[in-house]
Amino acid sequence: MWKRYFKFIKLKPGKVVTAQFGQIDFSADNIGIEIIKALYESGFPYLEITEEGEAVLYVDVSKLGNTDKKIMPKRSKKTEIISSEMLED
């Protein structure tokens, strides 16, 4: 899964003792994406992000449009009624 988003570079896929997480076998497919992402963000020299990884993990919010509009969590109808009643008081 992580290999869709990151490419292992400069070494043959295999074991590296990482400063952050100890020994990791980069030939395995089942390394948690959070671990890989944390390594990449800390400047780990053997990872390169793919285009897909860039698009999925690092979405540029400014390019999405409507940036000044705040996205608020949906409220239930009951909450809306109570809120408007409270405002009237």
Partner: protein, 166 residues
């Protein structure tokens, strides 16, 4: 907590492409103690790990020299159990080779033995090696490596245990 972990990492000095740079004009004591960046290997080369029996390994720092000429000699001693091909091959290869080691202590401090100018070298077998006399003896090989350095630094990078491609 004292002692070192049950694995040390080593490579041939000649196989190292780049050593992490030493601190230049460090602003704090902490930055004066740490190397920044990674040790990288030449294409097709890698570092290796070696197992050692728990509580048999030690990393020791000895100050040496006279006033105004002080430096350090660091010592790594370890005992590898058994006399398998791997350890015999290692001893054959290491006895006259220039090496680098990364030693991890029980507090996850990593010490790099070796720099661009000076390697770690095999210094002998402090507790001997062989089969032992009795069947209850522990067969294996002890080894000591030394590294002479002006300063002691902690290594904060990664350790590549697979071949470099570039």
């Amino acid at each position: 907590m004292g002692g070192i972990t049950q694995k040390v990492y080593f490579g041939y000095h000649a196989d190292v492409a780049t050593f992490p740079p030493k601190p230049v004009a460090p602003a704090t004591l902490e930055t004066a103690a740490a190397l920044t960046g990674d040790l990288t290997m030449k294409a097709g080369k890698r570092m290796f790990e070696m197992y050692l029996t728990d509580d048999t390994g030690e990393f020791k720092i000895d100050p040496v020299g006279e006033v105004d000429g002080k430096s350090f000699v660091s010592h790594l001693t370890l005992f590898h159990p058994g006399l398998q091909k791997k350890i015999i091959g290692f001893m054959n290869a290491a006895k006259n080779e220039n090496l680098v080691f990364i030693v991890v202590d029980s507090n996850d401090n990593k010490f790099l033995m070796g720099d661009a100018l000076r390697p770690a070298v095999y210094a002998g077998s402090p507790d001997g090696g062989g089969t032992g006399k009795t069947t209850a003896s522990r067969a294996g090989m002890s080894a000591e490596f030394t590294y002479k350095t002006a300063n002691i630094y902690l290594y904060e990078g990664n350790i590549p245990l697979t071949e470099a491609t570039v």
